[in-house]
């Protein structure tokens, strides 16, 4: 398989090579976080009822019953398709029977994983503002550095994080009501007073990673997805599902993408990818007086000759597409919650995640791949709007889940494949480094500074010193939240316990 180990060399270029590097690394913007060597084993039609407050949309007498009446179940039509990846062949009828059975049970603890694609620069998100640290920070990256206090001119300001003794501050795009974030909720409201008590729901690891750093996007992502410092055929959550998940319900783990995230690649447990809910129609631009969808449906209904797989496939797929779009007519696809940043892919995916989780289908894992954080050049204008969307999006997501009555059952983890170098380059950007920002959010989470900030003392490679092994966080998420034995899922453990600013070691309240 191709890899991108060239980046390791490129990053050692002198500063003068930064421009060339910035161009080259744009290649990496296309994500390889998805499993592309596996094709889905089947497509699972998702009934509209499933998203419309399921199981209330189904007669109660049928809950958990054997032999679900498919016609009743499908009476409002399909709302989308899931691409199912399964070791064994599953019939969709039996899948939905399994989902019905799940729906009758109380919701289990779930996790949403947001992958910041490209290598997020954590140092410009959580800024060391103690005086000695700040001067070193400013010296290392003067062309992109934050300023202390309110933003001034082109310089973005910072807001001190409570409970850190004044040593750390949020960059203002992350903070509500400041900078370019005008919403009333954001990182700061999630973080609260940082005590880990009620209302302090955001755990922050300023420098989580592994050592030694591998600066290849591809290999480093694979490590994070595998939960191991090597490339494995399964993801850490896929192995957790193999051990503790369902063998029948692919909706237990959903990648909101065109195919599967490597995080949930499993050996035996069925999982799935859902790119979108809601459908599209066959349309001809400029034609308003005839219904292309209806006419295509008539063409799809022409019978193909026996044994002609190609034409048969074409007509049946065209017919299916017409059916799906017809059935969706008049249905609201996804019920959006309020407060999401408008028109962003992250908002769309978080809304979809909230809808899925709220539907009670036994979904325990949702993966989201988002953003373009490979900021080799023009970092401030590229990263800050995304930080702002992330901050507002996380707060809106939490409120959305709360409105659905399931917020206490969901935690959200945010990570990236690596952090970036302490020193900026001549393109007002930063190159691949180590020690990135990792977050865990949710009212079940003991908020606050949960990992040490290493300060900006440049190590031999110009990187932040990694203070938290990323697998320590996975270990806590399994042990304290999802359930099960972390040692059975994460090779090479046990890993050091989490080290909170106040001396504690628990991730959850």
């Amino acid at each position: 398989m191709p890899d991108d180990s060239r980046n390791g060399d490129l990053d050692k270029l002198p500063a003068g090579g930064a421009d060339a590097h910035a161009l080259r690394c744009a290649d990496c913007a296309r994500s390889d976080s998805l499993v592309t060597d596996l094709a889905p084993t089947s497509q699972l039609p998702i009934p509209a009822e499933a998203m419309a407050g399921f199981p209330d949309g189904v007669p109660h007498a049928r809950r958990g019953a054997r032999g679900v009446d498919r016609r009743t179940f499908m009476r409002n039509g399909l709302i989308g398709m899931a691409s199912v990846y399964s070791a064994s062949r599953l019939d969709w009828g039996s899948i939905w029977e399994a989902a019905l059975a799940e729906a009758a049970e109380p919701m289990q603890k779930s996790i949403v994983c947001i992958f910041l694609n490209g290598g997020n620069d954590g140092l410009n998100a959580i800024v060391p503002v103690a005086s000695d640290q700040f001067s070193a920070y400013q010296a290392a990256r003067s062309n992109i550095a934050r300023v202390i206090g309110p933003s001034s001119g082109t310089k973005v300001g910072t807001t001190v994080m409570p409970g850190t003794g004044g040593s750390l501050a949020f960059a203002n795009p992350l903070v509500s009501g400041a900078g370019n974030n005008t919403d009333t909720k954001g990182f700061d409201t999630l973080y609260g007073d940082g005590s880990g008590g009620a209302g302090s729901d955001l755990a922050i690891f300023p420098a989580a990673d592994y050592t030694p750093a591998n600066r290849s996007h591809f290999e480093s992502r694979d490590y994070w997805f595998a939960g191991a410092q090597q490339q494995l055929q399964t993801g850490w959550l896929g192995r957790w599902l193999d051990a503790y998940g369902s063998q029948a319900n692919p909706l237990q783990a959903v990648s909101l993408d065109s195919s599967l995230s490597k995080q949930i690649r499993s050996t035996s447990a069925p999982v799935c990818a859902i790119e979108n809910l809601g459908g599209a129609r066959f349309q001809v631009p400029g034609v308003t007086t005839a219904d292309a969808n209806a006419e295509v449906g008539k063409l799809a209904a022409v019978a193909a000759g026996a044994g002609n797989d190609g034409l048969g496939r074409s007509r049946s797929i065209y017919g299916l597409t017409v059916d799906v779009s017809n059935r969706l007519t008049g249905l609201g696809a996804v019920t959006p919650g309020p407060g999401y940043p408008p028109n962003t892919d992250l908002s769309r995916k978080l809304q979809l995640a909230a809808t899925l989780l709220g539907a009670g289908l036994g979904t325990r894992i949702v993966t989201i791949d988002w953003g373009s954080f490979d900021t080799h050049g023009g970092q401030v204008t590229a990263q800050d709007p995304q930080l702002s969307v992330l901050s507002r999006g996380l707060a809106a997501f939490k409120a959305d889940l709360a409105a659905r009555g399931i917020e206490d059952k969901v935690v959200t983890m945010v990570f990236s494949e690596f952090g970036r170098r302490i020193a900026s380059n001549d393109s007002q950007g930063t190159d691949h480094g180590a020690g990135g920002m990792m977050l865990v959010s949710g009212s079940a989470v003991r908020g606050g500074l949960t990992g040490e900030h290493p300060g900006v003392k440049v190590d031999d490679d110009g990187d932040l010193v990694v203070k938290t092994d990323f697998r320590s966080v996975y270990q806590a998420l399994i042990g304290e939240w999802l359930g099960g034995d972390p040692g059975a899922v994460l090779p090479g453990g046990p890993f050091p316990a989490i080290h909170r600013y106040d001396g504690g070691s628990a991730l959850m309240k």
Partner: protein
């Protein structure tokens, strides 16, 4: 199973309904269709046979192709396709009013190849060149600078332009590809150095490019040791891309593993060319390659006798591609299911074919946007194994993208208004404007039925009827097969 079974059931119901609704006289009044001809006479092609050959070996027939080759022997047309040097005609494509800039913009990189396919005077070299890209799949996702991929594209064209290079052999291509800068970068051969062998290329050369994992009898073609040993023979090559427009690869003896290697049980101090030869001399290579090339053009796999005959031709010619292609493209199996095309068009073939049918050129990113949604963006294969293809091309998303592409193209074209035009004339005009492609009789009836139902009292109604007729003919389910 569930989706298709479910859908087939719906289809049967709809079919029963529709059959009752379409009066028989509509079917009788249809224009003559090439699909009526069912005979396969290799000595004198029917229009349907011409269509079949030009879809499989190109991007569909032009009206001139159909006229010129009807009544002629298949072997003459195949000789023309395989013997006419590559060339382009017409105005070079543009993107938003600017000349394409393939080295500055990846979209333009893709557009420039699609443009070349659309404007090719002999489509076969572009079609075979694209096959080489699918076979030796390198992706822009990990190859930079883009010039390396363009250079590789030229290499593929050299081995696809059989008019200019009639003696092209897979062996020569495999030798060149092995030390091609793009391949050295994509499969990290440039990091293959003695003491730290990189097995990437050695493995793929056997698994994907030359042999397959197992042979015809199901036994492994190579061992993990063979991979390790072969990798040593490939060590020592690097890329000089200091001038991206003239990148070269070079061999540094000091980086080469200078020592004995054992590959397939044979012992020697092999270098890269020896290693390629060892793989090509493996007994599984000929049938592996012949079957893959066959599957590019023919829906059903070759039967044992055909495979044996083709393999003999291939090995007997010294692994040349032209004699092999002559036999594949003239085989009666290419013309199977003539009344009902049975292969799904790959997205690139569908897109280029539709543009050629409409005499449309590249002027914006419509083609690349939709190719991406259809799942086949040239220069961006999903893995080193290329695209899976076949029936997997079609799902509900790609069906919408396929229809949407042609509908978008059509909506950008000028359509004349013809007051007083009858439904039958409107049908005929639309059919002629899109190149008279194959449509099943039932499909013709359904489209004809639309023409009679559609309003025609105003200029707007007539134009929309014409637009819809063309879209149904060129973008519906029947247009997805060849």
């Amino acid at each position: 199973m569930s989706r298709l079974a479910y859908s087939a059931n719906k289809r049967r119901k709809r079919k029963a309904k529709r059959a009752a609704a379409v009066p028989r006289r509509h079917r009788l009044s249809l224009p003559p269709s090439p699909s009526v001809d069912q005979t396969i006479d290799l000595g004198s092609m029917s229009p349907t046979m011409v269509d079949r050959l030009f879809w499989r070996a190109g991007f569909g027939p032009t009206l001139q192709d159909r006229t010129a080759w009807t009544g002629k022997p298949v072997k003459d047309a195949v000789a023309w396709l395989l013997g006419t040097p590559a060339g382009v005609s017409g105005t070079p494509g543009t993107n938003a009013g600017k000349p394409l800039d393939p080295t500055g913009d990846d979209t333009d990189l893709v557009l420039s190849w699609v443009d070349r396919m659309v404007r090719s005077t002999n489509p076969f070299p572009e079609r075979l060149g694209f096959f080489w890209h699918r076979h030796f799949a390198n992706s822009r996702m990990s190859v930079s600078p883009p010039q390396l991929l363009m250079q590789q594209n030229d290499l593929f064209r050299k081995y696809a332009d059989l008019g200019a290079n009639p003696n092209a052999s897979f062996a020569d291509l495999a030798h060149e590809v092995t030390i091609n800068p793009s391949m050295l970068r994509f499969l990290t051969g440039e990091y293959n150095v003695k003491g730290a062998p990189n097995e990437n290329y050695a493995r793929e050369l056997m698994e994907l490019f030359g042999l397959g994992v197992t042979g015809p009898a199901g036994t492994p073609n190579y061992s993990e040791d063979d991979v390790k040993q072969l990798a040593k023979a490939f060590s020592g090559w690097q890329i000089d891309d200091s001038n991206p427009d003239a990148a070269t690869s070079y061999f540094t003896p000091d980086r080469w593993y200078n020592g004995p290697k054992i590959v397939f049980g044979k012992f020697g101090n092999y270098k890269y060319a020896d290693a390629v030869d060892l793989v090509l001399a493996h007994p599984s290579h000929p049938s592996f390659f012949v079957a893959k090339l066959w599957n590019e053009f023919v829906a059903a796999p070759p039967d044992a006798a055909t495979l044996a005959k083709l393999t003999a031709t291939y090995t007997g010619s010294g692994l040349k591609v032209k004699p092999l292609l002559e036999q594949i493209l003239s085989d009666p199996a290419l013309f199977a299911s003539l009344t009902e095309p049975n292969m799904v068009k790959p997205p690139v073939v569908y897109v280029v074919g539709a543009m050629r049918s409409l005499a449309a050129g590249i002027t914006d990113t419509t083609a690349t946007d939709h190719l991406d949604s259809m799942g086949q963006l040239p220069y961006f294969p999903p893995t080193v194994a290329g695209w899976e293809g076949g029936l997997s091309w079609l799902n509900t998303n790609t069906a919408l993208a396929r229809f949407g592409f042609v509908a978008t193209l059509l909506s950008q074209m000028t359509i004349d208004d013809t007051p007083g035009e009858t439904a039958a004339s409107a049908y005929d005009r639309a059919y002629a404007a899109i190149g008279q492609p194959w449509l099943a009789p039932g499909t013709q009836a359904a489209i004809h039925d639309f023409a009679t139902r559609a309003g025609s009292g105003t200029s707007k109604l007539r134009k929309e009827r014409q637009l819809m007729l063309r879209a149904l003919m060129l973008a519906g389910p029947d247009a997805q097969v060849m």
